[in-house]
Amino acid sequence: MKTLIALVAGLLFGIGLALSGMASPDRVIGFLDLTGGTWDPRLALVMGAGLLVAAPFFWLADRRGTALCGDALTSPASAGVDRRLLGGAAIFGIGWGLVGVCPGPALIDLFAQPLQAAPFVAALIAGLLLSRKD
């Protein structure tokens, strides 16, 4: 059941990303470019709608205590706000600003523009693997 839920979630996530327009670097840079004269607020709509829909599920999962499939709820790192978190976020933000592509859209773009997306994804995976020893 866990695998099936994950597959459906992946499908919905991908359809949502494609529909949202966020697979396009033009759209993302249009949001990040505050001084270009044609600011495009739509990325904020995507984030806002995503948060509003996701939040009740997260709240319900916490209330229930365990996941539907019986597993415990994973609790991401509880290290507090440290230099690793902030430094990593800053490096990510620079890369995101340079190309206008973050990890989800990169995978979607593999099919729309394979020759451009493949080197990005290869470098992304190399970075992920280099980022930690474990």
Partner: protein, 143 residues
């Protein structure tokens, strides 16, 4: 150019809602966090790869379907990015999300949805860094 008519803002709202639904479903159903960078990293080298492969397979199937419908336009703008920039950008995104433990989905959607202070800080920092990077590039090609 951009009129905020329903034709312009409905797809982002519906798309965003679907992303939120997917993240919520994964959390409620399996207890896991739908953060693409984390799922991808652990799928490469880590424990419990089964559901991660399934999630990524779903994402890739959706991507293939969307590209089949929309063509290269789906990734509009990517065609203008030179290869060195693709490599440097991809490496920075991979390193940064690996070190910082999340990206736009893990921190931006899941982390904020569970009101994580770490994610609030991470989102503030990566948004600021991205705004500044785009601004510097506009200010005469510094980067």
């Amino acid at each position: 150019m951009l009129d905020l008519l329903p034709a312009d803002y409905l797809p982002p709202l519906i798309g965003g809602a679907l992303i939120g639904l997917a993240a919520g479903l994964l959390r409620f159903g399996t207890g896991q966090i739908a953060g693409i960078s984390g799922v991808l990293r652990i799928a490469m080298r880590g424990p419990e790869r089964g559901w991660r492969f399934a999630f990524l397979a779903g994402l890739l199937i959706a991507g293939a379907g969307a590209a089949w419908r929309s063509g290269p336009q789906l990734a509009a703008g990517l065609e203008r990015v030179p290869l060195p920039m693709l490599l440097v950008g991809g490496l920075l995104v991979g390193l940064g999300t690996g070190i910082g433990n999340g990206c736009t989905s893990g921190h931006g959607i899941c982390g904020l949805a569970r009101l994580s202070k770490r994610s609030m800080a991470a989102v503030a920092v990566f948004m600021l860094a991205a705004f500044v990077t785009v601004w510097l590039r506009r200010m005469g090609g510094v980067l």
